[in-house]
Subunit: 198 residues, 2 copies
DNA sequence: TTGTATATTGAGTATATGCTCATTGAGTAA
DNA sequence: TTACTCAATGAGCATATACTCAATATACAA
């Protein structure tokens, strides 16, 4: 690979990273291509050399994010984790990417179609692992028999509610950091079958 | 009141109703003032005679919506309803205003600050009634002892998740119509204390 | 009936922003 | 060294859209 195409690759990378940072901080709707070019320290026109349209750039940033998350989720595949372990890992993955993930939820309606498909794909992967772990514990009689979709949706709903309404729960910083553990315990308590002692 | 100011009032009303209809159908971010003037059958400039800025119009529409909901919620005040009855009423109120309410959730980030305050006020009113009904049933030992905020947030989270991700649950029409009952039963099952028979 | 007040109009302005393209200059191959 | 290639530039274009304002039409007061 020669110096020229290496340089091009690096510029593309700078733009992607700058866009990711700005989207995570300010959302997809408010960040414009000019802001991105300044943050990436390239000219405005340079953006369009690498990405034909603003939408294409957004899609590229989200696709890359999706791959990163997918790789993280994939680690759950091998081992035979308990439901609580899987959910804790889920919280951790979100925590590591909280800003960007939150904007993805908040600005979902203004995203290009391909980007929305990607966000759904991420959730499907998570759903698979949660469903698998839940099944085992339902069989063992540890947790209540709840339809797959309701169990998953209730968990996702809780996380998404805290993320998208962040301002209600923390002044600044990570919601998952502050409330993730509590949410996990709460959810487990709701679905666990209480065995009466004595 | 003379004919002239009556006419003015009617025009203002036409604009508010038209804006409400378009916002409910297409969201706050995508509907522009021109579309609203066409829907209201007034000139574009007329919008700004009644509302100095687009934001002011949005705030007016949302304030009116908030008052409408508050009046509906207020009915719960008097009687000594069970938690399930209160939640069912909540689902019904949302169902009656589902399109607009959903857009309010979806476009929350692009709304003017005053409008966001209003949406929080609506939720506070509901929260109050749910909390009151829940307390009684916790005392009676019918439902689990869960912190007020977690109980309310879990319920809101479920509803909001189904509303904002509508496309996952219905092809068209009302999500609450189709899933409201199921969600209610599911939530009650989660928080109810299971008494072992025999 | 006539003059004034005002609700409404719609062409026009200001601005934001995605996108283009002729130009530049550094890298590459002969 | 020289001719060519192409990544990068940034001034400029096209469009969308919130908002203005002089002109108009209608209601009201005398």
């Amino acid at each position: 690979m020669n110096k020229r195409s290496l340089q091009k690759e690096q510029t593309r990378e700078k733009i992607l990273l700058a866009a990711h940072r700005l989207f995570a901080a300010n959302g997809f709707a408010t960040v414009n291509t000019h802001d991105i070019s300044v943050e990436a320290e390239v000219s405005h026109g340079c953006i369009f050399v690498h990405f034909p349209t603003r939408s294409d750039l957004i899609i590229a940033v989200i696709m890359r994010f999706g791959e990163k998350i997918a790789a993280r989720v994939h680690v759950l595949e091998e081992a035979n984790h308990s439901l609580k372990t899987v959910l804790r890992a889920h919280v951790d993955i979100i925590k590591e990417n909280e800003s960007f993930y939150t904007q993805l939820l908040r600005d979902n309606t203004v995203l290009p179609r391909e980007a929305i498909v990607q966000t759904i794909a991420i959730q499907s992967a998570v759903s698979h692992h949660i469903g698998k772990a839940a099944h085992k514990e339902i069989k063992k009689g540890k947790i209540m028999a709840i339809a797959d979709d309701l169990l998953f949706n209730t968990w996702m709903a809780l996380l998404h509610y805290y993320l998208t309404n962040k301002q209600l729960f923390v002044v600044s910083g990570s919601v998952m950091e502050k409330h993730g553990g509590k949410l996990l315990d709460h959810f487990m308590k709701l679905i666990t079958i209480k065995t009466r002692e004595a």
